[in-house]
């Protein structure tokens, strides 16, 4: 089971903040393809410049292998303070 988390504007676009995918996708690129097939607007937003990905709370830049219990978070540009 892969836990997918959306933050900021991404959750507004998708209409959800958290989703579990079972069976888990093999790779991050497979997860992106699944989410895009399900919701093209979300897929486009996830691919937008400035959107980062955290896999099990570590930022990843490239494609990555997902484990059976990965947590994948999509992070739009950050704005604190």
């Amino acid at each position: 089971m892969t836990r997918v988390l959306l933050f900021g504007r991404l959750s507004d676009i998708a209409g959800w903040r958290e989703k579990s995918l079972d069976p888990p996708p093999a790779r991050l690129s497979d997860l992106r393809a699944l989410l895009t097939a399900d919701d093209a607007a979300l897929g486009e937003a996830l691919a937008a410049p400035g959107v980062q990905v955290a896999l099990d709370q570590v930022l990843v830049r490239d494609d990555a292998v997902l484990s059976a219990r990965s947590e994948v978070a999509f992070l739009p540009p950050m704005s604190g303070g």
Partner: protein
Amino acid sequence: MISLTDQGFDPGPLLSGFCRGRAETGAVASFTGLARAEGGETKILELEAYPGFTEAQISAIAETAMTRFALHDLMIIHRIGQIAPGEPIVFVATAAAHRRAAFEACDYLMDYLKSRAPFWKKEHGPGGARWIEPRDQDHEDIARWA
């Protein structure tokens, strides 16, 4: 100390507490960020964090600042959840032997908190809600530390 809170806080007692019991610290600098009303455009500011990840990323920023500015100590308090105009959003304090390091570390920490710490900010106003993204100025500010 690094803390995220969904409760309002008073920066005064935080600063007093931070200054207490220091024999070798010659300088403490602090910064308090307040939520702006934007002329009535912002009724409520909503701050979202990624529990666990946000604290870890801020800790990494803090560790870099401790080393870079040879700090004795630092404190970062950041609000999450709903914040009304006029309320403090963020409090940063830095302790160092001399003033320059304390000032600069405070400035550095705020630049990183603005655009590198995992927070997402939504402005709720009379015309609806909108997500705030870092401005060009925020990117220029952080580039100063490269």
